[in-house]
Amino acid sequence: MNLQILWFCLIAFFWSGYFVLEGFDFGVGMLLPFLPRGEEERSEMFRSIGPVWDGNEVWLVVAGAATFAAFPSWYGTMFSGFYLALLFVLVLLILRVVSFEWRDKGDKARWRRVWMWANAVGSAGIPLVWGVALADLIYGLPIDSGGDYTGNFWDLFSAYSVLGGVAFVLLFAFHGAGYLALRTSGDLYERARRAARALAVPAIAVGAAFMIWTVVVAVDRNHKDVFPPVLPAVIAIVALLLAGYFAYRGRNDLGFAMTAIATLAAVATLFTGLYPRVMVSSTSFGNSLTVSGAASVHYTLAVMSVVALVLVPVILLYQSWNYYVFRARITGSELSAPVPAQSATHPGPG
């Protein structure tokens, strides 16, 4: 395998890591306004993702930086072309990041409500834009012979790309409900299970439609054969169906595994449908950016390959350990659990 292909696969892998992991914390965020009854349950939901969301988000940073380093032309064209969409993502990302840290730093109900909504809106809006953006790569955008985006903001939206955005949102809401069913207890747990069941049908329907349409787009607009993209697409659809089945049967662990597999397979479908191009041009197919045309030189890729192949397994190890440490279900009483020695947030008398 040459290094350009390796890096194309690694970038697909980083996006997968981002969506599988951050996907469920997006889902938890989206459910914040609907699922909990009262402030305590809302705090439990925040707690369920508190130790992990930041590590999950770094997969996006890595996907972006890896694209910069391995495929500078892809990074330059994509990020400048998606300018206003990415501005939107950045605003939502920023508000969502601070919502985690700031929400509990105020006492007023309104303060907490503001940050809860910041988190919820971000959790839905961010995957919506990423879904549109990744769908656009394969559907095609106006790109000139110099490799620059020539369209306006509205050119990013087609029926197909919007479906991609909605599919991501529904898939992650489903994924997040499944995660909550694994991590919560009591009433909240029951409601999380019900939410997973309620979300299963729309997530399966829209997700499957998006997968099928992606294969069609790959064939029609990216001159691909039906095989191989159809393979991950079928896996994604089957995994979604199984996830729905397990949600109804109350097998939360298997259901969550299935939504994770569906997410992986969906990213794989998009990237298999895209290869050997990285951005399809709708202006003229010949203007499309390709893996070999956009890639960095062999030396850069070789250096980064060594770094990535050493570090990625280590990262997977310590992130898994993080999940292992916080594997216990969140309970209401945990909020008032004793802390070592005296409680000393603020050194007050006594």
Partner: protein, 463 residues
């Protein structure tokens, strides 16, 4: 160049400057307060003295409030290269992208994951392991600083590359990561971080002394802050000076501009203050205070060194790169250099005074110094901002020194309207975030905060 295109470049520059200066208000405090909190927790772990646990919690909360906004604004920086500077990104990606990618893999993953473990792990991990998670997270923040400065230093002093088909290609990763410019810039930045951490801590302690609140507790923290601040502020003066020598050899124009030195000189005096003399039309200051020979020493380590003047450098650059203006904004560069240096000296004096008062055991009673130390919290912020203005504006008109002009590096597909929109959005959002952050920091640092009954300990995350 058309007026429209130059508007787009200018707006993109203003946006990048605004977002990166803002980002760097939070980063150095993370770099400096992190290890200080880790030291406090280590002392608690070693001695079992609960005072140190309380201090860990107290300053840990400030650390986390600040950390969140640093992370959030850091995302903007990574995206902006591609969003606003796509020509630059395509030109440098082969070289510049690599340290950014490694930063994500090696540093961001570490700090984010282990900080999550630290925040939530108080009851879940053994005390030893819990302490280790904080040190690992701190190591992550220090690593990330290194990689981003390797990237930035390549823009100041490109090494280990060749130009092929109009793009820079990496030829030696060793040259890239051992770039002398980067190593000095890194040391300079880490010291700046420690100054941030220790002076913010000292200021907060003095605020508590002023109100007579928990004096015994905060005396311990003040001692730690001074033990760090004293050597670090002194060392920074030395390192800053040595860094200047690296700049002299890599970026003569930047040094000439920072001294408003229009004509080559040998030996050269250091201008402490001057009125006028900042433009090509007005090269002679109407008033100035100058220390003889000092600039020669600062620029190359000897009292008889030569410093090239702006006029001579401009002529050389023109013969090398064609007609054009290769001088940065002299007035801005001259003053940013002085603001940084004077603030650096002031911070050292404050550390000396504080240490002396502590040693005399009068720190808790010396009100004028307590007010001074509270005010001095602003100094590292001012110095760091001025330092980055000097570094980045001093490189102009180049985006990559001698290789690519800023005016030719922006995204052709991004109109000035789009940049105008994003600039407005960032300024509004950052202003709101800044106010909220300031209010929260103040609230959690203040000595007279009414304790809400049954309040949860906040450094144990309470989401």
């Amino acid at each position: 160049m058309s007026a429209l295109a130059s508007t787009a470049v200018d707006l993109a520059r203003i946006q990048f400057a605004t977002t990166s200066i803002y980002h760097f208000l939070f980063v150095p405090l993370t770099l400096g307060l992190g290890p200080l909190v880790a030291i406090m927790q280590t002392i608690w772990h070693r001695t079992g003295n609960d005072a140190w646990l309380r201090l860990t919690r107290f300053f840990g909360t400030l650390f986390l409030i600040n950390f969140a906004i640093g992370v959030a604004t850091g995302l903007v920086q990574e995206f902006e290269f591609g969003m606003n500077w796509s020509v630059y990104s395509k030109f440098v990606g082969n070289v510049f992208g690599a340290p950014l990618a490694v930063e994500g893999l090696a540093a961001f993953m570490l700090e984010s994951t282990f900080l999550g473990l630290w925040i939530f792990g108080w009851n879940r991990l053994s005390p030893r392991l819990h302490l280790a998670t904080l040190w690992i997270a701190v190591a992550g923040t220090w690593l990330s600083g290194y990689f981003i400065l390797v990237a930035n230093s390549w823009m100041q002093h490109p090494v280990g590359y060749k130009i092929v088909n109009g793009e820079a290609q990496l030829t030696s990763v060793w040259a890239l990561v051992s770039n002398g410019f980067a190593l000095r810039a890194y040391l300079h930045t880490i010291l700046a971080g420690l100054i941030f951490g220790s002076l913010v801590m000292l200021g907060v302690c003095c605020w508590h002394f002023l109100r007579g609140h928990e004096v015994d507790l905060f005396r311990k923290a003040a001692k730690l802050a001074l033990i760090v601040a004293l050597p670090v502020t002194l060392l920074q003066l030395v390192v800053g000076n040595r860094f200047g020598e690296a700049v002299t050899s890599a970026q003569s124009m930047k040094i000439a501009a920072s001294e408003a030195q229009w004509n080559s000189c040998q030996p050269c005096g250091f201008s402490l203050f001057q009125i006028g003399g900042f433009t090509e039309q007005d090269q002679k200051p109407s008033f100035s205070i100058t220390i003889p020979k000092l600039l020669s020493y600062m620029a190359d380590g000897s009292f008889s060194g030569e410093v090239q003047g702006l006029n001579q450098l401009q002529a050389q650059e023109q013969s090398k790169y064609g007609p054009g203006n290769y001088m940065p904004n002299v007035r801005v560069i001259y003053w940013s250099m002085r603001v940084m240096a004077f603030a650096g000296v002031l911070m050292f004096l404050i550390a000396v005074l504080g240490a002396w008062l502590y040693w005399k055991q009068t720190l808790e009673r010396t009100r004028w110094f307590q007010w001074t130390a509270i005010g001095a919290i602003a100094l590292p912020y001012i110095a760091a901002t001025a330092g980055w203005v000097l570094t980045e504006m001093g490189r102009q008109p180049w985006i990559v020194q001698d290789l690519l002009l800023t005016s030719k590096a922006n995204s052709p597909s991004v109109s000035s309207t789009w940049v105008g929109i994003s600039l407005g959005v960032f300024i509004t959002l950052y202003a709101v975030l800044g106010i909220v952050d300031f209010v929260l920091m103040r609230r959690y640092a203040r000595p007279d905060r009414p304790e809400a009954p049954g309040e949860l300990p906040a450094a144990v995350a309470t989401y």
